[in-house]
Symmetry: C2
Subunit: 220 residues, 2 copies
DNA sequence: GTCTGTGAAGCTCTTCACAGCG
DNA sequence: CGCTGTGAAGAGCTTCACAGAC
């Protein structure tokens, strides 16, 4: 293993998640002709502490001007480069159920530099049909289409059954990471990534928080 | 402030998120007539380390049997009680766009003890229409309906414009927590909670991770 | 004075590793 | 033996607080 270049590995995962929020806000500000912004202002807008914002930005060596603050457009561009959304990325989606269809018609992705190019489903009734402008392929075409389109990111909104198999085949076809909406734990090799979104679990977390607070009031 | 009861506050937020996964798996196991399970087995099934699982379970004083392991059904019931899903909870949803409609027809919520009872939208064309069996109310009915149905959790899938206002009005009508799909930071009082799900940000995180890996290969 | 960038402290979560039980 | 529960160590993230620039 090569000794990690110090400039690289410093960006932590929590930082990356916040970078998205920073960039979104910076884009808005850029459209409003704002040229420079101070850490405490941007921090307030996205809901973090000024110290954390400065730390996050410093982690990739972004130098702000001391008297004027940070250059809005330059910072926005830099973050795009870091997260890799400075050019459009093609992604694919497996499972054209309710959630899958919703994501297909979600405009937010395009705005942020992602384009859902290919769509797959097991259901023979869905194969061949067109959803939000994309023709749906059968799972048998998975490897071919993913390789041809050089898809690196796969969105999973299918049934849990056989999902790991889809993942394994995707990886063999060049996919590097998965956005998984299915409440099922997936295993991937070390150089691939899974990001889970479990909507029910989030609701359960809220349920716990509300309940805990109610208990505390009783205790008090 | 009353001195926090030691038994209470010990459960950390990260633990709560994992509890959902544990409970789901325990339910499956219960259906398969599994009576007891060891930490390393369950840990492997949900994808955490055995030590972490034991720590999580110990945080609310769940005592497993040393030779047989953990009682599957009892543990499942206990977790339900902790997160408050031992009885059905009514939730409401604001914003019947694509994502909102998808969530309305998503069966997963009911399975986990949540029922979307009321639906709201600003669009006059949508008000009065029925979506997945729920009649859509106008935002002017927000306070009345939320209070009447005693809604404590609100799902936000609307436009960013005016969202903070919906939040404020919801809180006055008794809402305690929000599941927010809108990429906009919201502010709530200390005794209320917001859980954000930013799908684009997750994609950006994956984009970063894939890209970073590619860079490292170049460096190596 | 105000602001950035950053050591250092503080805090939280995770992992280790082992006592104690069966 | 193997397993649980848990102190203790470790790793990672956040906040403090201040030097230095303006």
């Amino acid at each position: 293993m090569a000794p990690t270049n110090k400039k690289d590995q410093k960006v932590s995962l929590h930082t990356v998640e916040r970078l998205s929020a920073y960039r979104r806000k910076l884009e808005e500000l850029g459209l409003d002709e704002v040229e420079y912004i101070h850490s405490h202002e941007l921090a307030a807008l996205v809901g973090v502490t000024p110290a954390q914002l400065r730390r996050d930005l410093a982690s990739f060596g972004s130098y702000g001007n001391i008297s004027r603050g940070y250059d809005v457009r330059r910072m926005s561009r830099t973050i795009s480069q870091i997260i890799g959304t400075d050019r459009i990325q093609n992604v694919a989606l497996v499972g054209v159920g309710d959630l899958g269809r919703a994501l297909l018609s979600y405009r937010g992705f395009e705005e942020r530099g992602f384009h859902i190019t290919a769509v797959f489903d097991v259901d023979p009734d869905k194969v061949g049909r067109v959803f939000a402008g994309r023709r749906c392929y059968g799972l048998d075409k998975l490897e071919t289409v993913l390789s041809d389109l050089q898809i690196r990111i796969l969105i999973l909104t299918a049934r849990p059954e056989g999902l790991q198999d889809v993942v394994d085949r995707g990886i063999r076809a060049g996919v590097r990471s998965f956005l998984n909406f299915v409440p099922k734990s997936l295993s991937v090799p070390e150089d691939c990534f899974v990001e889970n979104i479990d909507i029910s679990a989030k609701l359960e977390k809220l349920s716990f928080l509300s309940r805990k607070k109610a208990q505390m009031e009783v205790n008090a």
